[in-house]
C-alpha cells in the first residue's frame, strides 16, 4: 500500500452547538485526485475547513505522518496543505499579480509553481495582471484563486466547488487545470457537485451522508452502484 499523504480518522466538528461531522474517516495518497461527493449540507465543506483548522476539529488528522489537528490555519498551510474556498475570496482591491504574490509563503527553496507558469496556463490572467481582482469574471476569479493557492507550493490542495456557477467552457478549463496540477505531483481533494467532472478526473471517490463517509470506490464502481447514487447523490 502506498504511503498515505493525508489520513483523517473519526473526525467530528461542530458549528456552535450543531454537530456537523459525525466521525468521518478517509485518506488521500500522494499525487492522487480524490473527490468528496454528497448533497448540500452533508458536511463536505466543513470537512475541509476542519482539516484546515478553520473549524475546530475533534479526531485525528495526520498529514505526512504528523498530527495536525489543533494547529492554527497558517501553521497547517505551512506544512504544505492548500485550500481553495468555495467563496473564492479574491482580495478585490489588489491586482491579479498582487493576489498571486500573496499566495507565496516567503520561504526558501525550489517551488513547483512560478508566476510565469500560471500566466502560461492562463494567458487571460497575464493580460489582466494589473487589474484589481474584484473586477474579474467568476471564471477568472476561480482560476486566480486556485493559482494563488498553488503559488504556496502545497503537496495537497483542497478545492471546494471550483466549477460552481461557471460556463461549460470554464468548467472544461478547470478540469484541465486540475489534471495539470496532479501531473506535477500535487494531490487534490476535490469537493464537487457536478458528478461528471469528478468521475472523469478522480482516482477514487468518497460519498458523504449525515456527516460520515457512506461509500468509497473508484469512478467505475460508483457508476455501477446506482443504489448508492440514488440514495446519497441524486436529487
Amino acid at each position: 500500500m502506498r504511503a498515505r499523504l493525508l489520513e483523517v480518522g473519526d473526525l467530528h466538528a461542530y458549528y456552535g452547538k450543531s454537530h456537523i461531522l459525525h466521525g468521518a474517516t478517509f485518506s488521500v495518497g500522494e499525487g492522487e485526485i480524490v473527490s468528496l461527493l454528497g448533497r448540500n449540507g452533508v458536511g463536505r465543506s466543513t470537512t475541509i475547513k476542519a482539516i484546515m483548522g478553520d473549524v475546530p476539529p475533534k479526531g485525528s488528522i495526520r498529514f505526512k505522518g504528523e498530527q495536525i489537528a489543533g494547529l492554527k490555519p497558517h501553521q497547517i498551510a505551512r506544512k504544505g496543505l492548500g485550500y481553495v474556498p468555495e467563496t473564492r475570496d479574491i482580495f478585490p482591491a489588489l491586482t491579479v499579480r498582487q493576489n498571486l504574490m500573496l499566495g507565496e509563503k516567503g520561504g526558501k527553496g525550489a517551488r513547483r509553481w512560478t508566476m510565469p507558469d500560471m500566466f502560461g496556463m492562463f494567458p487571460r490572467l497575464e493580460e489582466r495582471a494589473d487589474t484589481p481582482g474584484g473586477v474579474l469574471s467568476g471564471g477568472e476569479q476561480q482560476m486566480l484563486t486556485i493559482c494563488r493557492t498553488l503559488m504556496g507550493d502545497p503537496d495537497l490542495i483542497m478545492i471546494d466547488e471550483p466549477t460552481e456557477g461557471l460556463s461549460p467552457l470554464m468548467v472544461e478549463h478547470v478540469g484541465r487545470l486540475l489534471e495539470e496540477i496532479a501531473k506535477r505531483g500535487v494531490a487534490i481533494l476535490l469537493v464537487e457537485q457536478k458528478l461528471a467532472i469528478a468521475l472523469r478526473i478522480s482516482k477514487r471517490l468518497y460519498v458523504m451522508g449525515h456527516g460520515k463517509i457512506v461509500y468509497e470506490g473508484t469512478p467505475a464502481a460508483l457508476e455501477a452502484a446506482s443504489a448508492i447514487r440514488k440514495e446519497w447523490l441524486e436529487v
Binding site: H74, A77, D89, R148, T149
Partner: protein, 311 residues
Amino acid sequence: MLQLVIFSTLNGVLYGMLLFMMASGLTLIFSMMGVLNFAHASFYMLGAYFGFEISRRLGFWPSFFVAPLLVGALGALVERYGLRRVHKFGHVSELLFTFGLAFIIEELTQMFWGKLPVDYRVPPSLDFVAFRLLDTTYPAYRMFMLLTAIAMFVFLLAILTRTRIGLIVQAALTHPDTVAMLGHNVPRIFMIVFGVGAALAGLAGVIAGPALVTQPSMASSLGPILFVVIVVGGLGSLQGAFFASLLIGVVQTFAVAMNYSLAEAFGANAPPLLGDLWQVTIAQLAPIIPYALLVLMLILRPTGLMGTRET
C-alpha cells in the same frame, strides 16, 4: 482677511495631518480586528510624556526617535498579552478592555507627572521664525510638525502599497481568514499593525507635545475627535480617514478664528425671543462642529465619506 485665510489654512492642514497620524492607525486596527480602540489617544499622550521625559535627559532628537518606538512596543505588548486574550469573548469585551486601559493610562500618567501640564518645550534648534507674511510670523516648529506628518504619510503609503507585508495587511483588512489559510501568521500581523498604529500616535504626541499642552487630559479631549474622523471618513477606509482629518482640521481651525454671531448679521433687528443665543459666535460653536458632523453623517450616510460598511 487674507492673512486669516492663509494662516488658518496652514494651521488647519497641520491639525488635520496630526489627526491623521492617529486616525490612520485607529482605522487600520478597526478594519483588521474589528476593535474600536478607545485607548488610541492614550498612546498619543504617552508619546508626549515619553518625549518630554527623554528630551529633558537626552535632548529632543533622541526622544523624537526613541519615544515612538517605546510607545509602539507598549502597543504591541497590549495587543499580544491583553487584546488577543480578550478577543475570544467578543467585540464588546474588547471595547471595554480598551476603555479601561485608557483610564488606567490617564491615572498612571497623573501619578507619575502630576495633574498640571509639564514643561515640554520646543527645542532651541527649531525655535525660530520660519517666515513672515503680511506682518505675521509663522514658527519653524509648526513647519517641522507639518513636514514630519507628511513624511509619515508618504512612508505609510509606501509600506502599504509597495511592500509584501503591506499587501498582507491590505488583504487582511477584508479577508483575514483567507490570508491565514495562505500561510500568513495573521495574529502576528495584527500585533505589528497595533504596534505601528500606537507608534504613529506616539510620534504625533512627541511632536505635538511642545506645540500644544502636555497634560493628563490631552487623551480624553482628543479621543472623541478621532472617532469623529474615522466615522466621517468611513470606518476602515484609510483615504476616508485622510480626507476627514483634513476636513475637520481645517473646519475647526477656521471656526475658532471666526467671531461672527447672528446678532451681528441681523444688527439691531434681531428678535429678542432667543435671548443670548443671538450673541453666540461661530468660535464658541467650534467645539460642537465635529460632533454635529458625526451625528449628521451617521443619519445621512452611515458608511461615511469613503467607507463600505456601516458598523
